[in-house]
Amino acid sequence: MIFTRRRSAALHVAILAAGIAAPFVFPAHSVQFAVFWIMVLFALTWDAMGGQMGYNSLGNITFFGLGMYICAITQIGVVYNVGEYTAANGAINVHFTPVQYFQGLTLGLVLAAIGATIVAAILSWVLLGIRGPYYAIGTLGVAIAAAELTSTWNWVGGGQGIAMPVFPGGPGMRERFFYFACFVAAILCYLFFRWLYRTRFCLAVNAIRDDEDKADALGLHTTRYKTVAWSAAAFFLGIAGALFGNMTGFVEPLETAYPTLTFGIFMIAMTLLGGKGTLWGPIIGATVFYAMREITWTYLLGWQYIALGVLIIVNVVFFQQGILGWVKSKRPEWFGVKVEEEEKPRREAARPVTTRKAANA
């Protein structure tokens, strides 16, 4: 095992330190770094369904947009009439005191997380009875429907969108504040799934991935696991959406809240790139993918989507296991994965009890 406890702790501390230092060292790029943490969160939440459970959702972006809108409406609603605010298209200047702003934001974040979770639980009940490509298309339909419905709902601004309340604070403060909010959200998401993959949940969803009929035949409450997996993903996606909307300052259905073709696909591409079904694969994938994206957007403008497309094709055709999966297949011993039989006498001193060595590597 290459990832000893000490090395793992050092890695975590290094990432934490880099994360804290980033907005101070590169203040001009705070927003890009904040979006990076949202990408990490995207990949982690997508992997819970797509990687660990084998349910490839094309519509997880729904919960992102839902969280964004719930938070926006809450923030406005605590101070002002939402219908009048959106009808004015930003023409009225509503002043939010700092207290009002942060109260609204806090309440909005909580409701965004809860709202997205509840909707995911309801959708689970409807959609998780279908499998494979039908589930993928079904979830895509949900995301598109959510965007279209929002576009036609004038009370929430329709296609015009909502101008978000202005952050009370000096220049640079807003970026820094939302950077740390996104950073903390990504860390909480990571810690949650790290814990979750050490419980019985992990083996159960892996079993659903490998053979759902067999899992049924063994009496597993498969719907229960699926509901929990999707709801947990939605919880964090709701928070991410709420933060992203405030960071952008403007909420609108097609490009910001439900960007099925950009963020909705990115979350899948990042997970596949890093290696699905592992805890760190999505994080590695998000890092490489986002770095590629930023580089191509800067130096290959006009060709950026072609470059990303090439990356995705190379990944899908030649490295289906992704970066971490590839390393794992080359060096299984680094991850404690056994490929040789071991004929040890039984009843030796207490064997380490790990249920999921590989996932935590």
């Binding site: 019985r200 991935r209 053979d211 009496g219 229960r224 249920t355």
Partner: protein, 249 residues
């Protein structure tokens, strides 16, 4: 038949125009090893699928421990304590053997919060003990998908034992297993029946195996129960011989 654990009464199941089971009635006594034989396509696996709730039946009644289960789903029936293994072996290929075993724990009483608990060491011990029982201990940390077909069958059997069922329906447990291993498997099946008190209901093509194993045998042909009785009687029943070899008439 004093204490039947599985009672099938008048079960009919058709797929479109093909009647796979026609008015099938049989009973499996608690604690017994009961065999189910019959030529290919005689409806044995269909009957198994009906019993475990894989598909709804057209008419008839299926009881498990006196309880009507013909309208229950697969998961619920499994949680009542009746499990099946598959003809085409099914294990969780990307998980290692111990993980396969742990996930097979009985889910009878499990509430919502149980999924958030880790596996205690004694369950890992138990999993390894059962893997040793079927002779897979040295492979316990290998991915189940990398095992040979025969080993996967043994793993599937161990997984079924881990689930502590009251009744276990085995669909051709020895098919595809090396002949030298078959004796070992027969022995393990008998021990599972005797030591763990699990009622076994076994579909088997290998006559030597089923004659050796079962105390009572049903023979099916063309979707109907043709004959039943002690192994020796069924073996010599002319109707059974006809069903297998074609009527001599």
């Amino acid at each position: 038949m004093s204490d039947p654990i599985i009672e099938v009464a008048g079960v009919t199941k058709a797929f479109g125009g093909v009647v796979a089971n026609r008015d099938v009635s049989l009973a499996v006594e608690r604690g017994s090893i009961t065999g189910l034989i019959g030529p290919n396509g005689s409806g044995k696996t269909t009957l198994f699928n009906s019993i475990v709730g894989q598909h709804p039946i057209d008419s008839g009644s299926i009881r498990f421990e006196g309880r009507e289960i013909s309208r229950m789903g697969v998961q619920k029936i499994a949680r009542l304590g009746m499990l099946r293994t598959f003809q085409q072996t099914r294990v969780f290929g990307k998980m290692d053997c111990v993980e396969n075993m742990l996930v097979s724990l009985p889910h009878r009483e499990s509430g919502w919060l149980e999924m958030f608990r880790p596996y205690p060491p004694e369950l890992v011990e138990k999993a390894e003990h059962l893997l040793e029982f079927v002779g897979l201990y040295s492979k316990r940390r290998l991915a189940a998908g990398s095992l040979s077909f025969g080993q996967q069958k043994l793993l599937e059997f161990a997984m079924a034992l881990m689930n502590e069922p009251k009744a276990l329906l085995l669909d051709e447990p020895t098919a595809g297993i090396n002949p030298t291993l078959i004796n070992g498997l027969i022995d393990r099946l008998k021990r599972a029946n005797r030591d763990y008190g699990i009622t076994l209901f076994v579909i088997e093509h290998n006559m030597r195996v089923v004659m050796n194993l079962a105390q009572h045998i049903y023979c099916m042909a063309f979707g109907k129960v043709l004959a039943s009785g002690a192994p020796a009687d069924v073996k010599d029943d002319p109707r059974v011989i006809d069903a297998y070899l074609g009527a001599a008439a």
